[in-house]
Amino acid sequence: MKQIKNLKRGILLFLLALLIVWPFLFQSKYLLHILILIFIWSYVTTVWSYMGRFGLVSLGHGAFFGIGVYTTAILFNLHHVSPWLGMFVGGLVAAAIAVVLGYGCFKFGVIGHYFAIATLVLSEISTLVIIALRDALQTGGRLGLTIRSVGTSPLYLQFDNKMYFYFLALALLLLALFIWKKIDESKAQMALKAVGEDEEAALSLGIDVVKYKTAVFALSAFLTAVGGTVYVQFTMFADPTTCTGVGLSLGIVFKAIIGGMYTLWGPTIGSLLIVILEEYTRLFLGSAYVSYSHIIYGLLIIVLIRFLPKGLHGTVSEIFQGRRKREAKTLLAGRQLAENRD
């Protein structure tokens, strides 16, 4: 067991080292671009899973991402505020909205599917608001906005060389994974797990369910908005379809489901697969068939939810460490049989 753990650690360290030296070894800008996208989406998906893994399904993370994108962009374009500051402002705005929406929902029993729908509405509203503020805040509406370029300027989080974003995005992803670990060690994790398993039982044990759920929602929203900032500084362009709204929200959820939201690496693996899939279909089927990738991953989702509800990584790691669980399942089945016979 310990050997396996060491082996795993070794592989991870090797991968990390490889990722760090990658941009120095390979000059392909295209691959670098794809890797940056993979890091950013892995980060956002991991952050989404902070709550998703406890049964708190948010379809509103597109809105939080968009808040990060547009807050930064508008503050910079109109008021020349550094995106480093914009990142925090965006994060705080997103967290504030999460607190209001979350507290309201959880306090009054809007949970499960109903919570998902409430957050879905938030996604839709975010798109509409951005379109409505086309002139007032120069969001550009459906046409999108471009960040004013100042060349390479660390102060304004703009770099001509993609390498900077590569490391920034990688650092973000590592941070997200680190926070996941921290949550796992905290007492909030116990509370949230109990809530995820049986909310009413958790309530009757004196767990302040509303507090823990709202807190994790706010944390997740804050970090998602930060991801939005980095994304828009990288692409220098934002429009409501790619940077906010229902489509983006669902994209995040799909990545989490495909990779598996219950394990540390699941969201990353899901994002890796989806980004590659999207690139592949775009390259080989051409832009005329752009939506083919959606059809393919729609089908993938159906197949995966049916056969691997814990996602690819979740299921694979269960197979590896799962002998105990399988035995438990047979035991359970046997016991149910016995009970029925009584």
């Binding site: 116990m190 109990a194 009413e200 009757s204 004196g206 302040d208 369910v209």
Partner: protein, 234 residues
């Protein structure tokens, strides 16, 4: 200790409890009996803060508790064992018990509470690392009661502890209730198995379609001719 006056409660516009008044003294065991749909579980949910009453007042140790959040009520010393135990099926017995002493007041006494509870239910030591979902119904009920005791309550509320269990196991569950009572806890129990519940109770309330139809001492309950006919089958 617990005093409920003129309590009305329900779901949406539908009223389940109508003008219910109940009292539980310190160290007393009170059984609330009644048929399905009488509002027994609703009553416990209201006390635990899981459901807000539409009117009436609940006092616990002279403090008003209706309208308080469930976690505040647990802090004050009321603990509910929901119907069927409602353990966290994927957590181990040990983790389930840990969740029982999650609240601020009792978290630091976790080890002591565990010892105390284990002296009552030796099974939780043997089965510490078992996943709760894999236990039998009777074992689950015991662990659920143990979990509730982990919050060091003054008042323990049991929602149909016998539901879904074989008669032999029901008998042993009531033995445990008796022992819990002997250890000085106040118990408020909701039940359908009248005879066994009456045996351990000091006071009986009979709830029918949301109203208290009878309340009194065990002896009066057993002597009441109407109750004899419809509930005791004598």
């Amino acid at each position: 200790m617990l005093k409920i006056e003129g309590l009305h409660a329900g779901y949406g516009g539908f009223e389940v409890l109508r003008d219910v008044s109940i009292e539980v003294g310190a160290g007393e065991t009170v059984a609330v009996l009644g048929p399905n749909g009488a509002g027994k579980s609703t009553l416990l949910k209201v006390i635990a803060g899981l459901l807000k009453p539409s009117s009436g007042a609940i006092h616990f140790e002279n403090r008003r508790i209706d309208g308080k959040a469930p976690y505040e009520i647990v802090e004050m010393g009321i603990s509910l064992v929901p119907e069927g135990g409602r353990l966290f099926p994927e957590l181990t017995v040990y983790s389930n018990l840990m969740m029982g002493s999650f609240n601020k007041r009792t978290r630091r006494y976790f080890k002591d509470s565990l010892e105390e509870v284990a002296s009552l239910f030796p099974i939780i030591k043997q089965r510490k690392n078992q996943v709760a979902g894999l236990m039998s119904g009777g074992e689950r009920q015991m662990v659920a009661i143990a979990r509730a005791l982990m919050s060091r309550p003054k008042l323990l509320m049991l929602d149909e502890p016998s539901s879904g269990l074989a008669p032999k196991i029901v008998a042993s569950i009531f033995e445990f209730v008796k022992e819990i009572k002997d250890r000085g806890y106040s118990v408020l129990m909701v039940e359908q198995t009248v005879k066994k519940a009456v045996n351990v109770a000091d006071h009986i309330y009979l709830l029918e379609s949301g109203r208290v139809e009878f309340h009194g001492k065990k002896e009066d309950f057993l002597e009441n001719p109407k109750i004899k006919r419809s509930y005791l089958g004598i």
